[in-house]
């Protein structure tokens, strides 16, 4: 049956290609579109994902890393006494304006990092060193924001929140979900830029002792400090992402666009599979006449649909990784998680198999007598 299915499939190259294009199109679309979306939405948790903290502690009901509420900095001492906590440092996140050489302003997210530990500092530096923020007025910017910030050079002076700031290092790829670029500096200077008193902070970043469990430490923190919430890194990242997912129509519109594309691709596949069968109705009639059971005829169809799905999916995934390799940028990262690839393949396979059943009644009705009537 396999050879019969494969050979008759290959015999009609035109149709085979159309169907394959449909499968490949669907796979590429779902993965790239989905990957772009995931890449985009994951930026909402970027600071958390890369922040080197195992646990994030913030105001109760904290729901987005970029929009924190103030908590008293002195509470950090009580967190440090909790078993399992290796280190806890205050962290400051807030909005300010930066002057631009052209005379304009750009809103920035100021991140203040503990001087001693540099916990939560910028990463992936391409110019300068992380501890450069200890220099007077030192800030770290990201290369990817060059355009927005009008090409700041190392050593260049700017004003942030009306205070002096000097670019001392540059990172590559720290682009958050917001339009506002991140700038990293020391905690006290950040408080200055944000015009806050240094006795309030946004978060405590907690690193755990080896072997300590994040969820247990979180519970302990909540017990000691009922005013705060504490989440393991992954969870707070997800909470930050969910903030955008649920409060904007982002997920729905992206999802709908992807589904529409998928639908188009799949209609292409279903329609071609159907046409393939109609084209060869006579041959299926012959098979029935010489003793093929209905099951055997279907197994030919199923095998063909299966092959189409598998071959198309492989080609599609290769294309996806190519696209990802060449076109994924920090601005528009294409993040294709394994479950998206697997899910799209399963979906395509299911749709192919289902659409191979579309011509069911045509085959069913097929009278082997037809081969004798010329």
């Amino acid at each position: 049956m396999w050879s019969l299915a494969i050979h008759t499939l290959i015999a009609d190259r035109g149709k085979l290609l159309t169907a394959l294009v449909g499968v490949v199109f669907s796979i590429v679309l779902v993965n790239v579109q989905g990957g772009l979306f995931i890449g985009l939405i994951r930026k909402a948790g970027l600071l958390v994902d890369q922040g080197q903290a195992d646990v994030w502690v913030g105001h109760r009901q904290m729901h987005n890393v970029d929009f924190p509420r103030d908590i008293p900095r002195r509470w950090v001492h009580r967190i440090r006494t909790i078993p399992g906590v290796h280190r806890a440092e205050p962290y400051l996140v807030g909005f300010a304006d930066m002057t631009l050489p052209s005379g304009g302003f750009e809103g920035v997210v100021v991140v203040g990092v503990d001087r001693a530990s540099l916990l939560g500092n910028a990463w992936n530096l391409v110019e300068g060193r992380p501890d450069a923020i200890l220099q007077p007025d030192g800030i770290i910017l990201d290369e990817c924001e060059n355009q927005k910030l009008e090409n700041p050079k190392i050593g260049e002076l700017r004003e942030v929140g009306g205070r002096r700031a000097r670019v001392v290092a540059k990172s590559q790829g720290i682009m958050g979900f917001l339009v506002a670029p991140y700038i990293f500096t020391t905690y006290d200077r950040a408080a200055d830029y944000l015009a806050k008193t240094p006795d309030m902070c946004s978060y405590f970043l907690v690193q755990l002792e080896p072997g300590a469990r994040a969820d247990e430490v979180c519970q302990a923190i909540r017990r000691v400090l009922p005013e705060v919430d504490a989440f393991p890194r992954d969870e707070y990242s997800r909470i930050s992402i969910d903030f955008w997912m649920t409060r904007t129509g982002l997920g729905i519109s992206f999802g709908a666009a992807t589904l529409l594309g998928l639908l188009v691709g799949m209609i292409m596949v279903a329609q071609t599979l159907y046409a393939l069968v109609l084209d060869r109705l006579g041959e299926f009639g012959t098979l029935k006449a010489i003793g093929a059971t209905e099951r055997q005829v279907y197994s030919v169809l199923l095998i063909q649909a299966f092959l189409m799905a598998v071959v198309g999916a492989i080609i599609g995934l290769v294309l996806v990784s190519g696209i990802q390799f060449f076109y994924s940028t920090p601005r528009a990262p294409i993040v294709v998680p394994w479950w998206l690839s697997l899910g799209s393949c399963v979906l395509v396979l299911v749709i192919c198999l289902v659409s191979s059943w579309l011509p069911y009644h045509r085959i069913r009705k097929l009278d082997p007598m037809m081969v004798l009537q010329s």
Binding site: T8, A292, S374
Partner: protein, 256 residues
Amino acid sequence: MIADPHNDALPTKDAAAQEPMAGDLAVWAQDIHKTYRTSSVSTPVLGGVDLAIPAGQCAFLAGPSGSGKTTLLSILGCILSADSGTIRVLGHDLMRLDEDGRIAMRRNHIGFVFQRFHLIRGLTVLDNVCVPLTLRGVPMPQAQERARRLIEAVGLAEKVHAHPRSLSAGQCQRVAIARALVGEPKIILADEPTASLDAANGQEVMALFRKLTAEEGKTAVVVTHDQRIFPFADRVFHLENGHVVQTGQPNALVHV
């Protein structure tokens, strides 16, 4: 009527008493009726056909267009079922078979040759000939070996890997004959096997068909209009208006 030496071999209406032995008659049919019915019209086609074909013989069904030859052949080939009558093919009571039984009968015991060849376009000659064995679940290497033997036997050894579209009509019909024989069925049914071929090719193909079926002692039933191939028949049944009007040996009938 023309004298028919086989006529006395026809079983009487009392079928139960004189049931033919399987080794005796490959096909034995009595009083077959068939009417095509659609929602509005019913077309009576066979009105009581009797037929007896001894095993190993080649019988022709002849007669004018619309006389029901193809219908009769389809009934013998389990493609169609008769409305009433008694039909035994290779000892199987066709009237008692259900759909699955008919399919199994076609797959395991009957070889078909069609006027329009009905080869599968995408398959090579070899793969086409393998199809009946594939349907029976014979493993590919074994199927191919048997198919090759038959392709050689029909003289197409150098065309095993050719595709049907690159073959002439005569060659296609040879492939079809190989396909009909590959499963070693005891009976071969052919509907106008030479009608799509020119005279010379028709003669050649019939000669080959006859040779191969005779060699293996197969029974053959051939529907044809073509009087020029009558000499290949052991006997000819003449149908007209749904009845067998004449049965006889071909040389006697050729001149009718």
